[in-house]
Symmetry: C3
């Protein structure tokens, strides 16, 4: 049994879903583990993680639109000194995931056919985001 | 330290919560691990996982009703070619969990007394759903 | 490779976020693991876990207020025999996390600078809450 750890940096493009499946899957596959558990951890409180459909781009557009409606910017939040998109970003993070663990079977992530891993940026402007990766297995 | 992996298939009965605690707990117990970590991963983007109360059935009815109200079908989603329940299913999945990890203590899942593991089906019709299981421990 | 397990008890103060980062981080650091994976599991269905901003207290106030609005108590839930705050507590739990796994790098949790671990109490009154901890690594 062995383990590996890594950090991956991404630059988001403002609010919305950025696919990160490929660099994560490539790093995992390169560790020489047949069976194991990969954990992806987002080190931020205004960006999060989602497993979502990787086929129709409209799904990502609708997801972003839904969260924008559910958590409006034009509300009298107490925490408003970092801009109108900051408190909604924290709430959107709370409603989604900060961490995902995905089993590795036969050397590959056990993702379903239509599943991709997404970094969900909740701030209006582009941000540099870091994911911490951890893999354990053999 | 050793690990085991498995796939469990279920047929959902349309929208709502399907309890899957027993087959998961039985598989975990059969692996001969005293202390460890069990990961359950749902390989779909229109069904998800929840830990919820296993006593009152009304809790499941109210949960399903809440998510139906929160994510209405009668909305002008861009992604609508797979039926009115498809985009809401992706959103409901985003709002709940695709993966759960549960510690194993003394050979048993460390679930609380009132906790059950549920597959949350978000499509209107019954679907075949696969959970990937991974257990690590000794 | 080794593993450790532990239980931590907390008394919440009614609805809202209670920071639990320090006792969790201290226990993890005391296990003598350099690289590994810590899992925190909340053994309840009316309290949950969140990674959130650990700086501005207003963020916690706004989060609690958002969830109170999103999941109102004055609704005709079928499950109402444990008080008006019980069914909303189950729904708020479903919308947040029951489990968090955090990688350990260089002997420390790989949390971002502004990230804290919070127990999110969803019942109106104070409750005794138990978190199950599991650490694996070396």
């Amino acid at each position: 049994m062995k383990q590996s750890s890594h950090r991956l940096d991404f630059t988001s493009r403002g609010k919305g879903l950025l696919e990160v499946t490929q660099p994560i899957a490539e790093w995992a596959a390169a560790q020489g583990v047949e069976t194991g558990l990969l954990t992806v951890f987002c080190r931020h409180t205004s960006a999060s993680l989602l497993i979502q459909e990787n086929a129709a781009p409209d799904v990502r557009t609708d997801l972003e639109a839904f969260f924008s409606r559910l958590v409006p910017e034009d509300f009298a939040y107490r925490h408003d000194d970092e801009g109108p998109d900051d408190m909604p970003a924290h709430i959107r993070t709370a409603l989604t995931q900060t961490q995902l663990s995905i089993p590795l079977f036969d050397g590959h992530l056990a993702l379903g056919t239509w599943q991709g891993i997404y970094l969900f940026e909740h701030r209006a402007r582009a941000h540099r985001r870091t994911l911490a990766l951890h893999l354990m297995g053999e």
